[in-house]
Amino acid sequence: MKQCMFGLLILSLFLTGCWDRRELNELAITLAIGIDKVEDEYQVTTQVVVPSEVSMKGSTGSTTVALFTASGETVYEAIRRMTKDSPRKIYPGHLRMLVIGEELAQEGIGKSLELLSRDWELRPDFYVVVAKDIPAKEILNVTTAIESIPANKMFNSLKMSEKAWAGTHSITLHELIADLTSDGKEAVLTGIQLIGNKEIGSSKQNVETISPAARIKYDNLAVFKEDKLVSWLTEKESRGYSDITNSVKTTVTPISCPKEGKATIEVIQSNSDVKGNINNGKPEVDINIKVEGNVGEVECKINLTKLGTIDELEKIYEKEVIEIINETLDTLQKQYKTDIFGFGEAIHRSNPKEWNKMKENWDEEFSNLTVNVKVDMKLHRTGTINNSLLEKIKD
């Protein structure tokens, strides 16, 4: 007994301070990685936090992050090569954002993601976005206001935006990989843009003015076929995509009033249910969307105190959303022929045998797919007032 305890102690003393021990101040905490394709090599850019600048004490006024760039034939090689430049080893365990350059996205993102899913240290819960019209490196090279760490800014604004705006869509690495590997679903990714002067953008000067010279902003969804970027959706189509794939958390939707003017509906809950089935040997998809919401803003003459008005608004909402959805479906079915909605999976779930037959030429089947959309809207409240104050102003 005691010999064992003794042995254990001796052993641990011998082994102390070895192998995997890394002190916190030996790590280059990387919050964002950008991957571009430059010529035939991967160019990897990492945004590394400078901890002493983030903390209250001891900041010297320089930027809170540093950027390191290295190229290599593979992503892993590039990251390891980075130590030639960086004083500490890149530590990706807290990665928040992966930015993929548009060029690379067009060529195919699969290869560059392989390392990220294999490495033990990475937690695949970071967001993946595509830089639109610009290399990923430039996106990471911008200072931001409020959130002093740009990666955190990107992460938080994507998260908030997804919660409050149906047009944006956050996709983590494991979701992306699931989409890429699935037979019946293609991937989408949110785009990110740089607006303004990128020269000033990289300096601290950028955030010293009220309105920064350069800012980064999310854009619409990028559509993938296999792992290659095919095209970008418009904002409306992005909205339609969210509706179909049950990823609306809350959002607002402007609709037209019965007569003229606009009203805004605040969606507080939205549930969509996609069901696949086979009808006369032909695949079919039913989309059932149940929405609950409030009247958020009324910019027209309607009498909200009347019972029928709410019903009317519900009808209008349903009609307009179905239009948006149909438009989205149309674009994807006819134009891009890529099934980003997971209709294939839906059919697989309901009719595995039939699915196995049509799996091979699903893209064709998809473009001829009949989709039945049903929206059921329920309005509950009208905010803190009933009739609009506009009523009185006009009088």
């Binding site: 995997d20 033990w120 494991h174 590997t181």
Partner: protein, 373 residues
């Protein structure tokens, strides 16, 4: 010294549970998902059912000799020399599996927690507590299992609770796509890991348990609980990660822990959850090791098995470093030779014993002392 050790049936239940969970918790979801895709959990249910039959066979064999260990039973039924030879094979199996489990724990830690630490260091550390446990005796192992299973189930409950918001039922649909043939085929390896290998528990059951009737029940219930844990885990892996991803991961259940994110607050706890796997692996390895050490001692008619623990511990560590040159070899071996090896000792040997016993029954009853000792 060996006779006065007795554990109660509740403690045995816990040991059986931990033994059934053991390695399965790490690798089974992946193995099942490879073959049966999203129906992996059905395989687990099916396997648990068949596994119970196997356990029932063990119980049947054990009830004829309620005071003997497996080694002594083989000697009694097959005669001294044949029995010893067969016992040697049995000991060899449990010894090989002890080092194989040591390899698992080392590889698991190397893959997910400490890639730069040499595996030999991890294995030595693990072997130290295994040897310590075996030296302290079965009673101590059983009692510590009683405490550690609390930790285990608390962690497991956390895992299940925290991951449940991530469950997507779409991932397990369509149900029963794999078909009966695939399900039966792939359940073979599941039954091997959770039930067939439980033959080593015949080294403590029924000889060291105080009430046979209850112990028999414990054996079955323990195996069932272990099976249920694996079923839940397989279901969660498939429904959260998706069938493809589950199949691709070496340790899907660990990946599951990585996915935990409850309100951005309870997250990043996978390293803590690793204790779950270490506890389960520890007890399974210890039981294998105990069976082999006790087995050797009984084959050679030694009075005390304790002196053998440390040298055998050394050998186990060395073996754990050489038996699998790499993880791919390990997966291959497990899928082919491993299954045959386990089944021949864990299923055909007891069947053979039952048959021989049936034939020699009268002869054995007449002179109970003739063939043994």
């Amino acid at each position: 010294m060996m006779q006065n050790v007795k554990i109660n049936s509740y403690q045995f239940l816990i040991l059986v549970t931990l033994f059934s969970i053991g390695t399965s918790i790490l690798i089974v979801p992946s193995v099942l998902a490879t073959a049966a895709k999203q129906d992996a959990w059905i395989v687990a249910i099916f396997g648990t059912g068949i596994g119970l039959l196997v356990i029932w066979l063990f119980c049947t064999l054990a009830q004829w000799f309620p005071h003997l260990t497996f080694i002594q039973v083989t000697e009694k039924i097959l005669g001294k020399w044949v029995g010893k030879a067969v016992s040697l094979l049995f000991v060899f199996m449990s010894f090989i599996y002890a080092s194989s489990l040591l390899f698992y724990s080392g590889t698991f830690l190397n893959t997910h927690l400490m890639p730069n630490t040499p595996m030999v260091a991890l294995n030595i550390l693990m072997a130290i507590i295994i040897v310590m446990g075996v030296r302290l005796g079965l009673e101590t192992i059983a009692r510590s299992a009683e405490i550690l299973i609390l930790f285990f189930f608390v962690l497991f409950l956390f895992l299940v609770l925290f991951i449940s918001p991530e469950v997507k039922f779409e991932n397990v649909q369509p149900v029963y796509e794999a078909g009966t043939r695939t399900i039966v085929q792939s359940s073979l390896s599941f039954i091997e890991v959770t039930s067939v290998n439980a033959i080593v528990l015949l080294m403590i059951f029924p000889a060291f348990i105080n009430k046979f009737k209850q112990a028999k029940k414990s054996f079955l219930i323990g195996n069932l609980i272990g099976g249920i844990v694996i079923i839940i885990l397989t279901f969660l892996s498939v429904s959260v990660l998706g069938a493809d991803n589950t199949a691709a991961e070496f340790y899907p259940s660990y990946e599951l822990a990585k996915r935990i994110n409850l309100g951005d607050f309870i997250q990043r706890i996978e390293a803590l959850m690793a204790a779950l796997w270490i506890i389960a692996l520890y007890f399974k390895t210890t039981l294998y090791f105990y069976a082999s050490v006790l087995g050797i001692a009984q084959i050679l008619n030694l009075k005390d098995y304790r002196p053998l623990t440390i040298p055998l511990g050394m050998i186990v560590v060395v073996l754990s470093l050489v038996i699998y040159p790499n993880v791919v070899y390990q997966q291959n071996w497990n899928a082919t030779t491993g299954i045959f090896f386990s089944y021949s000792i864990g299923l055909f040997l007891p069947l053979l014993l039952v048959v021989v016993y049936a034939i020699r029954k009268k002869q054995l009853k007449k002179s109970p002392e003739s063939s043994s000792v």
